[in-house]
């Protein structure tokens, strides 16, 4: 396979895995699955749960992924500063590492775009210098 093709496949794997896991964070808050904690009751947590489920699924299937990722990125930025940044400056210590990673990942995907079909333009770099 050409280098471009490897890059497209790797991008799809990354996008689908991250989107599915992100959506699972939402289902944890809304349904208590996966895991054993009860579903969230606070309004902020329920809102976050819905955002995570909807945007995560949209990104994973590549539908309106740019918009979904932009919203998800903002959600993660808020999520980082609300509960995490108070615990110290390093995300690896204040347990905000996931929020930071997701935030930057979604911001890039928001700009790059992602389509559901393998041959979609947005799954592959349009030029050698773009990402």
């Amino acid at each position: 396979m050409s280098r471009d093709r490897w890059s497209s496949v790797a991008f799809i794997l990354l996008r689908v895995a991250a989107g599915v896991m992100f959506a699972m964070h939402g289902t944890q808050k809304l349904l208590g699955w996966p895991g054993t904690k009860a579903p969230a009751t606070a309004a902020l947590a329920i809102t976050a749960g819905w955002i995570e489920v909807v945007t995560g699924v949209l990104i994973a299937i590549g539908l309106f992924a740019g918009w979904a990722a932009f919203i998800a990125s903002g959600t993660m930025a808020v999520a980082y500063f609300l509960p995490h940044a108070g615990g110290g400056v390093f995300p690896i210590v204040n347990r905000g590492e996931l929020a930071v990673l997701y935030c930057f990942l979604w911001l890039w995907i928001a700009a790059r775009g992602a389509r559901w079909n393998l041959s979609g333009d947005s799954n592959r770099s349009s030029s050698s210098s773009s990402a």
Binding site: R3, W6, S7, V9, A10, F11, L13, L14, A17, A18, M21, M24, H25, Q28, P34, G35, G66, W67, A69, F70, G88, F90, P91, I92, V93, E97, L98, V100, L101, Y102, F104, L105, L107, W108, A110, A111, R112, G113, S122, S125, S129, S130, A131
Partner: protein, 133 residues
């Protein structure tokens, strides 16, 4: 959204690569030096090896020097880490503590396939080769 932000995509990719590379390297320094955080440095050989891979791999990726091979090694290390340390506790990454490992694994696989992009030593070497001073 791609229409409004599309021209920024290479910069956001570089930001992601640099931030994730630094965070990844911090996992390594935690194992080697106990910093950041307050847990002691690792003693087992396997953890020290993981720490070395993470520290140097993370730095190489963050500065974008030999980013593709470094990312490929780091991706493999994450896959090994997931199956050794997390998968025995169950298949779902959110529950077995392996979500970060999965994310890094796929992210570094993409960086290995795509390259470092802009704001990297690899890119400045490419630029110098194409248009030498």
């Amino acid at each position: 959204m791609e229409r409004y932000l599309g021209h920024l995509a290479p910069r956001f990719y570089a930001l992601l690569r640099i931030v994730a590379g630094i965070l990844f390297a911090m996992h390594g320094t935690q194992k080697l030096f106990g910093f950041p955080g307050d847990q002691p440095a690792a003693g087992e050989t396997l953890m020290v090896l993981a720490g070395v891979i993470e520290t140097f791999g993370g730095i190489l990726i963050a500065v974008g020097y030999m980013a593709s091979p470094a990312a490929f090694v780091c991706s493999g290390e994450m896959a090994v880490a997931f199956f050794m340390a997390h998968a025995p506790k169950g298949p779902i990454p959110l529950l077995n503590g392996g979500e970060v490992a999965v994310l890094y694994c796929f992210l570094w696989l993409f960086v290995a396939a795509h390259g470092a992009g802009i704001w990297s030593i690899d890119q400045s070497q490419k630029n110098a080769a194409e248009a030498p001073l």
